[in-house]
Symmetry: C2
Subunit: 318 residues, 2 copies
């Protein structure tokens, strides 16, 4: 991956993905005593940055591709489904049978065939591999793919430009981190376009595999696979491609609690008037509740919030 790939992805995304705004709120800044700039990827098409990587990957497929397949219980599947549909390609999204009804329905509505599997009894990878072989589909990975990373890196190109326009040339850029595709892409873009900005990953406490891996100098796994409200960013371990990029370019990783993520959702509701899901709010939580640079930039990576979770966040912290 390099800047040229990110720029090429940006050219393919133009007119299809949205240039999302870099928001700020005077009263939020006053309350927390620092200048906080929020890259609102929740306003991206399909509600998360995942559409960028999906579009970059699908638009880079060779002529004659018969269709794509993705594993996802959430945002990646929706991004791939819509990107494929807009390219006139069929898509299959393999989802756990116990995924929320609304996510299954939405993935179908974006145009995908949803294939459900039983998490306990079935091997997801074997099921997907069989479907790919049988139908000639191409797998679109959620993060460990150069084109996907390049697509997510377009967020970094926009941050570099918008930060400069806001007079910010140096400081921390906090990014919600699962497998590290968004973080690696942004880090590569900032290295070339805004070298004074330093990327730092943000994860839920207990699922901070990237922060621990960066500190240890080797890829470490999480002890658990579930158990945080930040479902969108719970991945077992850093990616093979993403980790070396972040090892070279990222600062120390940050972990925040579920309650801090929920409080950040409520603060984004009040002060920024955007909807964040818990996993999409951890970077804002880190900006507000942990020591950072001032000014600080954070990426609000997704807004596909469950209504019940959102109501609870407002009831507790609104």
């Amino acid at each position: 991956m390099n800047l040229a790939m990110i720029e090429a992805a940006a050219a393919r995304l133009a007119g299809h993905a949205r240039v999302t705004p870099l928001l700020h709120a005077p009263l939020l800044d006053a309350r927390f005593g620092k200048r906080v700039l929020v890259k609102a990827e929740c306003l991206q098409v399909t509600g998360s940055f995942k559409f960028r990587g999906a579009w970059a990957a699908v638009s880079a497929l060779p002529e004659g591709t018969r269709g794509v397949l993705a594993y996802s219980s959430g945002n990646h599947g929706q991004g791939v489904a819509l990107a494929a549909a807009r390219h006139g390609l069929p898509s299959v999204v393999v989802m756990p049978a116990d995924a929320p009804e609304v996510k299954i329905a939405n993935t179908r509505a974006y145009g995908a065939e949803v294939v459900l599997y039983d998490r306990a009894a079935q091997d997801r990878d074997a099921l997907g591999a069989a479907l790919c072989a049988e139908r000639g589909l191409v797998l679109v990975k959620p993060f460990d793919d150069p084109e996907v990373i390049a697509g997510q890196g377009t967020v970094g190109l926009e941050i570099a430009e918008q930060a400069r326009a806001a007079g910010v040339e140096a400081g921390d850029v906090l990014v919600c981190c699962g497998g590290g595709g968004l973080s690696a892409g942004i880090a590569l873009a900032l290295e070339a376009r805004a070298p004074g900005l330093r990327l730092r990953t943000v994860e839920p406490a207990g699922f901070d595999d990237m922060a621990r891996s960066l500190a240890a100098g080797e890829r470490l796994r999480n002890a658990r696979a579930s158990g945080s409200v930040c479902d969108a960013i719970l991945t077992p371990a850093p990616g093979e491609l993403t980790f070396p990029v972040l090892q070279r370019l990222a600062g120390a990783g940050i972990a925040v609690s579920d309650d801090q993520a929920l409080e950040a959702m409520a603060l984004a509701f009040t002060h920024l008037r955007i909807v964040l899901e818990p996993g999409g709010a951890v970077a804002l939580a880190a900006a507000l509740f942990t020591p950072t640079s001032d000014p600080v930039i954070c990426v609000a990576s997704g807004g596909n919030a469950d209504a019940v979770v959102f109501r609870d966040a407002l009831a507790r912290f609104g």
Copy 2:
């Protein structure tokens, strides 16, 4: 008011107000069977379009102005407070003593001196006039002022450009309407810049003074002063300056129910990931629940939602 005033206001607003995005959501379009484009003014600084008019008015004041005064229980006061503070001017916002605590606190946090009055016992206008005389303050009206209308008209300049970029040259532009400042400003901008787009006002049922006035050809008053959840847009009658503009340029007005506004808030949460207050959601409600052009553009005018009201909207319609 004319295009030149709106363009001049836009030049003064540049770098201070935000160019808000024109959002859309594929699944919302699919569900309602038409293309719906949403101008997200809830993302404006201070959370509503009111900051534009306030900035336009304050930035047009002559040198030597000693300060400004506004009457407001909500968005206009916050806009004036911040615009004045950023111009280095003191501001006084006259608010009813029973206004929500958070709105009083926020208005103060933006830099205003808040003067509370008793709605039942005190004459607001007399109180304000005395303060203006005593301290040499200039009154910034909420809608019936040429500079304020010009400032709100900058929304129309942006819509004209963004609609064209989205391939939309003709159709309805639905706008949440209180006194008509935002509607009149947008109508003037569209007349000059996008003559195929036709403005239509949207009001809460029972408070549709503008729609009835447009139909009758004369300014009519609402029977009641309160009783809708859409508190931000309950004004007693069309403005003196705004009504003739809309009489000349607007199509038939639309009224929506409180429940339709609340359902639109829930749909904006799910599909657009923006926070709307009830009065800021009536134009989206009209786009979704009443007959309109296809495509249709609507202005989501404000996002300073009460957390309890928002939770209730999600519980009922999310």
